[in-house]
Symmetry: C2
Subunit: 535 residues, 2 copies
């Protein structure tokens, strides 16, 4: 028997309509382009409505893809809602990718228009040499270059509240491609419903805890999985937003926190390592007292990072895990109440993990002998399912190998799960070292190496080995002025690792190659160092 | 174009499965039946699974209604999940209703079984004299009376995790009848989806703010609109629950708060008036320091109640509004951040209102000339819509007069809405005094009268008037030992009201008649005092 409740729209339009009505003057602040620009949610909604109507006049049809090549700013925020309100699909492009990859993604998406920052026009030019991304709409104050449209020129009179219409909640609203270091790019196609349920889960007190009284600074770019859902979480809660534009260097981030009294900020570990270094240079010079949480995601947080931010600078940190295919929040590492009295080191170990699944995300892990026991030791590939987990990829018909027969998504992350359901990533499947039938975690070795005072960065890769099939190799960037020997570094690891899981060798390099999202390019390291070595 | 995300179940089963897995030992405590009983969510889930299987063996089919005549306790909590997991519909009956009303409700619902507390067997007997409510299942420790089943006897071996199956999320999970002082009882039929979205909205930091670290004491009965969704909010968040059983007198409530370190509690104003009186008798005798919020709902909170709890006893209060047809949370009265520096009295005035709509609930109000302006003065009937608002009533085919042509629910509450979207109930439509074309708020008069030191309770009703059509009459219960004159009470009102809105007369009574949910029975007062008076 069906319930008798309204169908009620779980749409992005419903979020913004309410923000415009209930929080009309709570502002979205844009930094990095001269003096701060401030627009209340009522103004953001008006811009979204006007953009939606303008896209219609341009000939954009329901289901069309509209790309963005933009940093975090007010026009991007308006497009986040205005493009889906037009029934179209907002497709965020990562300007840090190589032009060949961008062109492949634009080709796969079949974009019909692209909203582009003035500073990113060279990236667009490089794309256009390879593929036609449709009409270019320049998000800038001045006149648009010849052959392009100005974002503001597209805006006509406010078409009124009906322009923030509710599409069917199962319709696609966003498209984001995985950074995909391997294989062809894969597009994740998010429905309104998935984004809304994700936003409701994000704002929970044990997840990001976003409330009306908060001021949120997403350092994470809006082209990385919708800035982890923060734009929707903020509009839903009426929280102020501070959008840093291109100004995401440590000094600018710290200035934004101090000047706008930011309470929540979010970004990847590499950003926070820079911020920590800036804080350490001149402790007390930056006012970070307004911060309630600093969210670390995108990759595992080094322990030294959390210890530094929390103990030396009093900034509470919160780690979360997710991926493009999980919208992205999958797990969050809040301390369980029964650990409130545990030793601080045990607390930190837990809080530095990937954490426990958020509501409506289910987790399990598959080892070589079926689902692993939740003992905190056995490793397996993490599988997830839930209402904001991808069921397939854009433009790829039929079943995908990343979905199991019983409908779970295979993450490719190798994890342990403990009796508290705490997930710990030990490796990406493709980075795992499989030595003599045993799995060695490259992440654990990297974290331990980065704990050595002479080490700036470290990556551990698997290299072929005649006897053991694979063995770990450490690739290390040393700190300025330091000159550790390989033996010293390996000795540093001995207390924490079994002898067979220690790296066989250490290579020193000037810098580690990184992907566009800041992760180590292990494939490149394997190519460089991966030749067979003496067994 | 459809999104490519998993369909993912928004079901009560999904909430409890996660609670059992992630929060297995967070406990649900039952008081009031001897020593406290404690069961972790893993045990609650096992009981729910066993009950679900047991109902199947009894012949309960998907869509069947299973009633409960129960206070707040562990078995009722297990039934909250176990009955819907069986595909059946959990139908909570209010044991405080008259047997004639209960029989009419059972007849309308077509219940096939009823779970009943031992202490409420006389209520069941009275129902059975009028209608057959199906198999009686007695929720008690001892053997069941002849012809009835014991709750525990229904539980066989644990059928395993699959027994917490996911029904279609649009299927009905719960049925609750409005207390309906007028007309035939009306049943609201909640889908899994509506209950889940409501729970996600409830746990938000600006609503009930339920987290894993919380301990929640629902004094509001589980037969009142699912205890305002708290059982689902707690299981979703992993919060501890304290279920008071029959022990909801002030002393028992205060003891539960102190002994279980309750952080959030919720109930109607009459409960809290009793608790405030008990606190005032012996200030400092009760440890209420663990309380983070005390939620007041069900009817408007008198200002003296909030002032007393907050100023004299340091208990932060939070008002919320809703109704059976809104699952029930519709608005919550958190202070907007821009009022953080406002005078305390202004803050209290706002926090004592119904507040602003929660996410995905839309509000508007219809006056005699169309939708009212949001000016905080013009009165109109509140209309709402959203994914957890009723679209009709159980067993009533076709359109209902309570749904507007464009699909909004007419609440029957007369409100103002201000420029901040703050809703203030001025009256129930049927209680509004319409005097000479102007509306007079009986609620405002009642609150002001109850602020007089000699007044214990006051109700204001409309009585027929030849000249003005209707005029207000005050019906007052005085405090022990006090003997105010009608003139003194009306003089007390003069500073705050226009002369024409003052009551024409004051009647003194020993007690005010109340409905089963604690509201004044104004219909009875109108019958007693409503004869025409000299114009």
């Amino acid at each position: 028997m069906r319930g008798l409740m309204m169908e009620g729209p779980l749409t992005l339009s419903a979020i913004l309509r309410r923000a415009a009505t209930v929080f009309p003057r709570r502002d979205v602040v844009t930094l990095g382009y001269g003096p701060p620009r401030r627009a209340g949610y009522a103004e953001v909604a008006a811009t979204a409505r006007r953009l939606s109507a303008g896209l219609g006049r341009l000939g954009i049809q329901p289901g069309d893809r509209v790309a963005s090549l933009c940093m975090n700013h007010d026009r991007h925020m308006a497009a986040y809602f205005g493009v889906p309100a037009a029934g179209a699909i907002m497709h965020t492009l990562n300007p840090r990718l190589h032009a060949d990859d961008l062109a492949a993604i634009v080709r796969s998406a079949g974009d019909r228009a692209v909203i582009v920052d003035e500073a990113l026009l060279p990236v667009l030019d490089a794309i256009r040499e390879r593929v036609d991304p449709g009409v270019a709409i320049v998000a800038a104050d001045g006149p648009a270059p010849q052959g392009m449209l100005g974002f503001d020129d597209l805006l006509d009179d406010d078409p009124g509240e009906d322009a923030l219409a509710d599409p069917d909640e199962l319709d696609a609203a966003f498209l984001c491609y995985t950074s995909g270091t391997t294989g062809a790019p894969k597009g994740v196609l998010y429905s309104h419903r998935a984004l809304v349920i994700h936003a409701l889960v994000c704002v929970h007190g044990d997840a990001f805890d976003v409330r009306e009284a908060d001021t949120v600074l997403p350092v994470v770019p809006m082209f990385h999985v919708m800035a982890w859902g923060l734009p929707f979480a903020c509009a839903m809660s009426g929280a102020r937003m501070v959008l840093p534009g291109p100004a995401v260097d440590p000094a600018s981030v710290l200035a934004a926190v101090a000047e706008e009294r930011v309470t929540i900020t979010a970004g990847v570990p590499t950003v926070w390592l820079g911020v920590l270094a800036a804080l350490d240079v001149d402790p007390g010079a930056h006012d970070v007292s307004s911060l309630k949480w600093l969210i670390i995601g995108g990759s595992a947080a080094p322990r030294v990072l959390m210890e530094g931010l929390e103990r030396r600078h009093g900034i509470p940190c919160m780690c979360a895990w997710g991926m493009t295919e999980t919208t992205p929040l999958g797990t969050a590492a809040r301390l369980p109440p029964d650990m409130a009295a545990a030793p601080e080191d045990d607390q930190l170990t837990l809080r530095q993990s990937q954490g426990r699944p958020v509501p409506f995300v289910e987790t399990r892990a598959r080892g070589e002998r079926g689902m692993i026991p939740h003992d905190g030791r056995t490793m397996g590939e993490l599988e997830v399912r839930g209402p904001f987990v991808a069921s397939g990829y854009f433009g790829r018909e039929g079943p995908t190998e990343q979905i199991t027969d019983d409908g779970w998504f295979r993450t490719g992350d190798i994890v342990t799960i403990d009796e508290r359901e705490v997930v710990r990533i030990t490796d990406r499947e493709k980075d795992l070292v499989k030595s003599g039938g045993e799995w060695i975690s490259s992440v654990a070795l990297e974290n331990a190496l980065m704990g050595h005072p002479d080490v700036a960065e470290a990556a551990v890769i698997a290299i072929p080995d005649e006897r053991w099939m694979e063995r770990p190799l450490a690739v290390v960037v040393v700190r300025d002025g330091a000159a550790p020997t390989p033996e010293e570094l390996i000795d540093h690891l001995r207390p924490s690792f079994t002898p067979w899981s220690l790296p066989d060798a250490v290579e020193f390099v000037d810098a580690l190659p990184r992907t566009a999202t800041g992760k180590f390019k292990k494939a490149e390291l394997r190519e460089r160092f991966g030749g067979p070595r003496p067994g």
